[in-house]
Each structure stands twice: as C-alpha cells, then as structure tokens.
C-alpha cells in the first residue's frame, strides 16, 4: 500500500488548533489577572 497523496489526504482540524490556542491564551490571561 502506498502513502496517500498530499492532494487527496484530508487536512488536519486546523480550526480546532486555533480554538485550543485561543483558549490557552485566554486561560493564561485569566491566570495573570487572578493572581496579580
């Protein structure tokens, strides 16, 4: 079996990465505000 072609291989869930990234930044901001 050959590796799937880049053209047809489904893209990873980039939207989920962006959402998690924004949540992490929001959590860090809340962390800074709460403890300072």
């Amino acid at each position: 079996m050959t590796a799937p072609d880049a053209d047809v291989e489904p893209q990873p869930p980039y939207g989920r990465v962006v959402v998690v990234w924004l949540l992490v930044l929001a959590a860090l901001f809340a962390f800074q505000r709460y403890f300072s």
Binding site: E9, P12, W21, L28, F29, F35, S36
Partner: protein
C-alpha cells in the same frame, strides 16, 4: 551527590546507548539511516520535534529565568501554533511530495545549485556552532555543581549521543527522543511536587501564586509595543511567527524530524502536537522557575547560586566586603520571608489589609534584589567577568541541595536527556546536509548506498568531535555563547524569505533568491549593528528584504527555472 544518584545517571546513559543501538538493524540503507525509510508514526515524530526544540538550556536557563524574571518569556511562544498551521499547509506537503532528504535539496529543484549550496552551508555553519553551545551551556553548570571538569561533562553528554546516533541513525534519534521527552516531563513534574511540598504548612499553592503575582512574576502578557523589548505580546505573535516558520520549516534539524513520518498527514499531525502542547509545556518549565522563587521566599536562599564564584569570593581579597553583603542579604531575605508570610495570611482579611501586605512585600523584594544585584556587581568587578550571571545555576543548585536522594539522579538525567535529544537530532541533520547537499552532489553523485551510509556515519562522528571541541572552547570564553546565538539570528529570517519566494512566487528566479538572500543577511547585520531593535524582529527584517529584493531581481534577471519544479508542486 549520593552514589544512588550517580547510579541512576549511569543507568540512564547505558539505557540510552542500548536503546539507540537496538535501532542499528533498521539502518543499513541510506534512506533508513537518514530518514527511517519514511516510516515513523506521527506521535513519535511529534515528541521528537518537541524534544529537539527543548534543550538543556531550556531546563536550566528558562527555570532560572522564571526565578529571576517570572513568566514573561512565555510570550515568545505565542505564535508557535499559528506557525505550525502555516507550515502544515505550505512547506510540509512540498517537502514530502518532493521526497527530498534535506530542505535545501528542494531549493535546487526550484531555483539553482548556488542557492541550495549556500543555504545548506549557512545551516552547517550556524548549526554546528550552536551545537557547541547546546553542549557547552549545561556542561559548564553540571561541572560546577557536580565538581568535575568541563571536558568531563562535555564527554559525558556528547560521547553516548554520538555513539547511538552514528550506529542507529535517525531511528535511534527519534526513539531515544521519545523516552527522553517522557523523562524530561516526569522530571519537571517531580521538581514541581518537591517545590510545593517545600512550602510552609500554612502557605498553600494559591497563596504562593498570589505572592509571586504581586511582584509581577506571573505576568504572561505585555501589550506595550516596543521594538527594543524582546518579550512582548507583539514580538511573540508577529516577530516570533517568522522565527518559528523559519526554524520548523527550513532548519534541517527540524525538517528531518517530519520527513521521517509515514505520510504528509502524519507529518502534519506531528507538527500539530507542538501546536497543542508547546505553550503548556513551556508554562510548566517557567512555573517551576516561579515555584523556585516561592520556595526560596520561605527557605533561606544563597545570595549567589554559583558555588565556585561564591567560594572564590569568600576566600578572595574582597572577602570582608562580600561577607558584609551576605549578612545584609540574610537580613533582607528574612524580612522578605516575614512579609511573604504576612501577605499569605492577609488574603482572607479583606482587600485593604491584603493591599497593604502586598505593598510591604514588594518593598522587601526590592530591597532583597538590590543587595543581590550589588553582590553580582562585586563579583563582576572582582573576576573581571562583565557577563557574570548565575541564572543558569538556580535550578541545578536547588536539585543538589533540596531534592531527596534518587530524584536528584533522575533530575540530572532529565537535564542530560534534554541536552542529548537536541544534540542527537542536530548531529543527524548536520550529517545529512553534509552528505546529501555536498558529498553526494559534488564528490560522488553516483556513490553506492553502502558508501554514502559509511560517509554519513563518519560525518556524524566528525561533527560530534567538532561540536565537543567548540563546547570546551566556548566554556573558556563565556561571551562566545552570545556571539553564536546572534550569529544564528542573522540569517534565520533571510532563509525563510528564500522559501517564501520558492513556494509563494512563481516569478521568483534563482538569481533573485540568491541576491535577495545576500541583501537580507546584510540588512539584518546592519539592523543588529546600528539599532537597538530586539533580535526577534531581525527575522522579520530578513524575510521581508529577501522577498522584496528577490522579486525585484527576478523581474530584472529571470532565469526560467520554474518548469522543473512543477512535478513536485502539491
């Protein structure tokens, strides 16, 4: 250090060499040795990507930074997830479909030989020098705290790594990286637990965090726009985006990690692992540093964390002056301890009481820091070492003086693991670029697989010896470390600019890319020499100038190389 801890370190080193050598059987072909026959699962590649990026300098330098400066440094990583998405969409499919061994190999197909050879040469120069620093920085610290010579700690780190990388190739590098990553995270969690348990009974984790936060140690966002300030939200999200796109997208030490993945999808997933986990992991490292700050509020801290300099000062010509400072520091630290305890107890007594206690604590912290700064100044005067800094010694000193037997060995092994995972990946990538971009291209284009494999092994050992020699030399010339770090930042952005031209602009020509690269590097050198712009922004300058000059020259002198790249465009 207790014999049990030495035994744990010895067992760790034997385990790594044995584990790496087990992979030799799969590395008897060139593609197997250099790229694991493009067969590795995404999670192993992803852990290897993270382990390569997390060096021993992160373990000892970043924890020390957390202790002295708090969590500001975390902003440096804010753009990393975005960089990983950009690379997953753009460069990763290009490299995989082109079936290249090195990132620079692609540039010859797209542009010309001179652009490929020059970028690969820049990589070899900068990466080999920085590898020396990667070995040197922890070797200096470990030699001081363990009481052995620098050449001994350099050999302790470099020799096992060279052995398993030479025999096992990239498979040994990746699978040892996986175990080393587990050890690093386990060690950091272990250290965090010891720090929490070391707090007084009447001071909880939340109290300690409030105390650290009251003096700005938990500041993770600085929205001021200041081009001379290294760590702000803007430098972390704009300038660092260029740095991470360049590092993960064009530096062979990282590109080679995901070229070993089974498919484009697996390579993308391996990069996205860093997108999810890098910021939390870096936050953990910095929180250990903040934990050290909280711990030493309630446990008398040494004024200076470098035991060698401390001993020199106590027996040197300015011993009386130093002793007076130590006495002053002890008094100031004791006042700070009382203020911290009052602040911890004031948290449930209303806002006004808490605000007043926080103000008293801030003043006591300022006083303590002022005495420590004077001590650092005295050491700089006495030793003539204007760059003296003990930040890298905070975490190792804590490990050797406050951590229980057994965990000490585990944590020193974790520092060695962080160093070895980076060294192995860099050795493997240096060997690959040497053989693929130079030896096979210029010396033996028709070289047989077995011969090229042998040359790859020799190149691995050769670069290992060179880097170890640089490490010992760098240890004697402390300021060289900074020079090497700046040297690398001169062309990171510029090389990214060449790749932007390659995949983003069909009109870009080989001459354009080459001249653009030279102009980009020149611009960065000018900015570094004549302005105070922080080095992260140099990456933006380099990339923008390369693209602008490259496009201009391409319009004036097109070379028409584009058709040969079409089959590899995704």
């Amino acid at each position: 250090m207790h014999p049990i801890d030495w035994t744990i370190i010895a067992l760790y080193l034997v385990w790594m060499v044995w584990d790496g050598l087990r992979m030799t059987k799969n590395s008897h072909e060139l593609e197997g040795f250099l790229l694991a026959s493009r067969s590795l699962p995404w999670w192993a590649v992803g852990l290897s990507v993270m382990a390569t990026q997390l060096s021993a300098i992160t373990m000892i330098g970043t924890t020390g930074q957390g202790y002295t400066d708090g969590m500001r440094f975390l902003q440096y990583y804010y753009a990393l997830p975005v960089a990983m998405i950009i690379l997953s969409v753009t460069l990763v499919p290009f490299f995989h479909k082109a079936r290249v061994f090195t990132a620079y190999e692609y540039l010859e197909r797209r542009f010309d030989l001179k652009t490929r050879a020059f970028t690969s040469l820049l990589f070899l120069l900068s990466r080999s020098m920085s590898l020396g620093v990667v070995i040197s920085a922890p070797a200096i610290v470990l030699s001081t705290v363990l009481g052995v010579s620098v050449p001994a700690t350099v050999l302790l780190t470099a020799v096992p790594t060279i052995v398993y990388t030479m025999f096992g190739g990239v498979q040994a590098v990746t699978w040892t990286d996986v175990k080393q990553m587990y050890l690093i995270v386990g060690g950091l969690i272990g250290a965090a637990v010891v720090l929490v348990m070391g707090l007084p009974k009447d001071v909880g984790i939340a109290d300690a965090l409030h105390i650290a936060g009251s003096v700005g140690r938990l500041q993770t966002f600085d929205f001021s726009f200041d081009l001379t300030n290294q760590y702000t939200f803007w430098s972390g999200t704009i300038a660092a985006l260029f740095l991470f796109c360049s590092y993960f997208g064009t530096d062979q030490s990282q590109v080679q990690r995901y070229l070993t993945a089974k498919s484009v999808g697996q390579a993308r997933s391996s990069l996205l692992m860093s997108a999810y986990w890098k910021i939390p992991l870096q936050a953990l490292v910095l929180l250990v540093g903040v934990g050290l700050f909280a711990f030493y509020l309630f446990t008398p801290p040494p004024m200076i964390f470098n035991p060698v300099h401390e001993a020199e000062m106590r027996s040197g010509p300015r011993a009386a002056e130093y002793a007076a400072l130590e006495q002053e520091y002890s008094t100031a630290a004791d006042a700070r301890r009382k203020a911290a305890t009052t602040l911890a107890h004031a948290r449930d007594k209303g806002d006004a009481v808490e605000r007043e206690a926080a103000a008293v604590f801030r003043l006591s912290e300022t006083n303590t820091k002022a005495v420590r700064d004077r001590a650092v100044g005295l050491i700089r005067q006495s030793t003539g070492d204007a760059a003296f800094n003990d930040v890298n010694f905070v975490f190792p000193t804590f490990i050797l003086t406050k951590v229980p037997v057994g965990l000490v060995g585990l944590l020193i092994a974790a520092i060695l693991a962080a160093a070895m995972s980076t060294i192995a990946a860099e050795l493997s990538s240096l060997s690959t670029a040497t053989v693929i971009d130079f030896y096979r291209r210029f010396v033996r284009p028709d070289g047989e697989d077995a011969h090229l494999l042998m040359v790859s092994r020799v190149a691995t050992v050769g670069w290992g010896i060179f880097a170890a020699a640089v490490a010992v030399y760098a240890a004697e010339l402390g300021s060289l470390i900074e020079v090497v770090n700046r040297f690398g930042s001169f062309f990171y952005g510029s090389i990214l600019g060449v790749f932007i031209l390659a995949i983003g602009f069909k009109r870009a020509s080989g001459h354009g890319a080459f001249v653009g690269l030279l102009a980009g590097m020149g611009s960065v050198a000018w900015v570094a020499a004549f302005t105070k712009v922080a080095f992260l922004w140099h990456n933006v300058v380099g990339a923008v100038v390369v693209v602008a000059v490259g496009l201009l020259v391409s319009l004036i002198a097109p070379t028409g190389k584009i058709p040969s790249t079409e089959p590899i465009n995704p």
